[in-house]
């Protein structure tokens, strides 16, 4: 008599769905995943919705709407292991750019009847609302990391962690440093690994889409960009205020380069 398969749920809050798509792009491993777990709730992939509780919940997206405040509590109650995956779920996402201004200004600019757009003033990570068992950073996280995290849950292995810099993956891959040899403002030295140094491998600077690494010394890198690469303050604000704008390290760095508000 085979063991009952663990139930997997995939949830979406405010996001572009790219993380969920990266699950669907697993190809052969998706078949393996379906063999190993009961895909019980994954609206992006299937109309079939089995009731909870769920053994593993993968949560995509940030908390940004009033109804999310309730929903995120419900997801937590229904989940034995809750994995927040992706930039939005672990930091607030690009939509957290609103956190630096009055979201009402945007709504009034874009929509004819802004009162019909009930959004929270800030876009925030799942962990700000409920306890999270594991966070997988990245826009989207590397699919290998997602598989490794699920495998870890199923078999009691340690979860994957890559808290050190992108530079380690970049050098292992044999890429020549685009910052040093081409003078490009690469965020790799302060960004968490996991992507496999995708952009530097194509002669593009890292945009920090995997978020701050452990002990990120953003001030030193920003100083180098300004003094040696000629970056303007406004460019430094934009460099750090992108995918992980709301992560504390990047948030503080971008704010440090903002013009002080004009008096009056």
């Amino acid at each position: 008599m085979p063991r009952k398969k663990p139930k997997l749920a995939v949830w979406k809050f405010t996001s572009c769905d790219g993380c969920q798509l990266s699950l669907l792009y697993l190809d052969d491993e998706l078949v393996e995943l379906a063999e190993c777990v009961e895909i019980a709730y994954f609206p992006e992939a299937s109309r079939r919705r089995l009731p909870g509780p769920y053994d593993i919940s993968l949560v995509e997206g940030s908390v940004s709407l009033p109804e999310h405040l309730e929903e995120v509590q419900r997801v937590r109650r229904l989940s034995r292991v809750l994995i927040a995956f992706g930039t939005c779920a672990t930091s607030g996402g690009i939509q957290a750019l609103r956190n630096f201004t009055d979201v009402g200004d945007y709504a009034r600019l874009v929509y004819e009847r802004p009162e019909l757009i009930p959004v929270l003033a800030e876009s925030t990570p799942i962990s700000q609302h409920v306890p999270v068992d594991l966070e997988l950073q990245g826009c989207p996280p590397h699919r290998g990391q997602v598989v490794a995290a699920v495998a870890a849950c199923l078999h009691g292995a340690p979860p994957p962690r890559t808290p050190a810099s992108v530079c380690l993956e970049c050098k292992r891959a044999g890429h020549i440093c685009v910052l040093v040899s081409r003078g490009l403002p690469c965020l790799g030295p302060v960004t968490q690994a996991g992507c496999g140094a995708l952009c530097p491998g194509c002669h593009r600077p890292c945009y920090g889409c995997f978020g701050p690494k452990e002990t990120p010394k953003t001030s030193s890198l920003a100083r180098w960009f300004r003094e040696r690469l000629g970056a303007k303050e406004a460019e430094l604000v934009r460099a750090f205020r992108l995918f992980y704008a709301n992560a504390p390290a990047f948030r503080l760095e971008s704010e440090a380069h903002e013009e002080p508000p004009r008096p009056g």
Binding site: E32, A151, L154, S165, C177, V180, R182, E214, R228
Partner: protein
């Protein structure tokens, strides 16, 4: 047998014949190459694949290729990649296991690698190989995969006549002229007499190979010209490192205020250790498939700048960036001597050039030498 023989002279055609012979003998030939503006070591077929007239401008945190009009094939010092990955691959499968009815079946990977011939190994990188040999081959345990790769390699060294802005091998006695550890060592000369190479043989294999290609005894004038070029190179090092009394000074100044100053700049990104030709740190990475019936363990190159590197039960021993930088520098220049009987630094300057914020080992040492060592001279 390794040891010096009288110098010989090789023409450019002679070098081409030599490289062709290496390939004919089944060596996979790795040499300098330029692909999409990136300088590295790749498989090459012969002289025609070598970049010509290329130079390198290097400063702390900055590297630029320059293109000159001359015909020199080796007119630069070292780029970002060392030869370390040839012997110590950044990611290597250690074992894999498959679960069957009878339990786990563990297998080791087959490593039938073709022998490699390395062209253009600089004296500092030769010195680095000697350092890694001490680490992997001369301790109580021998690293078999390193040994297999190392013993199969044929090494054509090239002495440096154009040192770079961050080079300091002359301070450590590791260059600009290779003294040992090669099969053949070339000094490239472009003079009124044309484009030629002074060749020294360092092994029987090197002598035997040279016998298969046209060459002749070097004249006294040729030997003299090459020596002058190398002596001039020794005087043009971009950096200098004073070693006298350094070990003791570092031991006496663990709390030097300059460590905190460096920490204000250090990104703990680990680039210095990744590009260092002697840093050998690594971790083991286990993975398991979803079904839980296939596992593997890889050895992955790592650095002492991560928090996890010094993690022991309960936490990291070096949680602060300054303690991690101090660990790295003190290991390279001081504790390495107690551990392996040599320095962990060969003066290649890569850690200086490839630090994204230009932290300069030689400048930091100079700053650390200034001041401190109080409590009654610490004996």
């Amino acid at each position: 047998m390794r040891g010096r023989s009288p110098a010989l002279t090789l023409t450019l055609e002679g070098l081409q014949a030599l490289l062709a012979e290496l390939r004919r003998q089944g060596y996979s030939l790795l040499g300098p190459s330029l692909v999409q503006g990136d300088f590295g070591h790749r498989e090459i077929r012969g002289v025609a694949d070598l970049p010509r007239g290329v130079g390198m401008e290097q400063e702390a945190g900055t590297f630029r290729l320059v293109f000159r009009e001359d015909a020199e094939l080796f007119g630069y010092p070292v780029g970002q990649p060392s030869w370390k990955p040839v012997f110590f691959p950044p990611s290597r499968l250690v074992w894999q296991a498959v679960r069957s009815a009878g339990g786990w079946e563990i297998s080791l990977p087959r490593e039938d690698l073709p022998p490699v011939a390395l062209l253009g190994v600089r004296p500092c990188d030769l010195a680095a190989m000697e350092v890694l040999d001490r680490v992997f081959l001369r301790g109580p345990y021998v690293e078999r995969s390193y040994q297999a790769r190392r013993e199969a390699a044929f090494i054509v060294a090239v002495n440096c006549t154009r040192p770079g802005g961050t080079c300091f091998c002359a301070s450590l006695g590791t260059g600009p002229r290779a003294r040992e550890g090669f099969d053949l060592a070339l000094t490239e000369m472009v003079t009124g007499e044309g484009h030629w190479f002074l060749v020294e043989t360092g092994s029987d294999a090197g002598r035997a190979l040279l016998e298969t290609v046209p060459h002749r005894q070097a004249t006294a004038a040729e030997v003299e010209a090459a020596s002058r070029a190398l002596a001039a190179a020794a005087g043009r090092m971009g950096r200098h490192l004073e070693m006298v009394g350094l070990k003791e000074h570092l031991y006496e100044n663990y709390e030097h205020r300059h460590w905190a100053e460096v920490a204000g700049r250090c990104l703990t990104c680990g680039n210095c250790a990744m590009v260092c030709p002697t840093c050998f740190c690594h971790h083991l990475e286990d993975s398991l498939n979803l079904r839980g019936d296939r596992a593997s363990r890889r050895r992955v190159q790592d650095v002492c700048f991560t928090v996890a590197h010094s993690y022991i039960h309960g936490g990291s021993v070096r949680p602060t960036p300054w303690s991690r930088y101090r660990q790295w520098l003190t290991h390279k220049l001081a504790t390495w001597q107690e551990q392996f009987g040599c320095l962990g630094c060969v003066g290649c300057g890569r850690c200086i050039t490839w630090c994204p914020v230009g932290i300069d080992l030689t400048a930091e040492v100079a700053a650390l030498r200034r001041g401190e060592t109080p409590p009654a001279k610490r004996e």
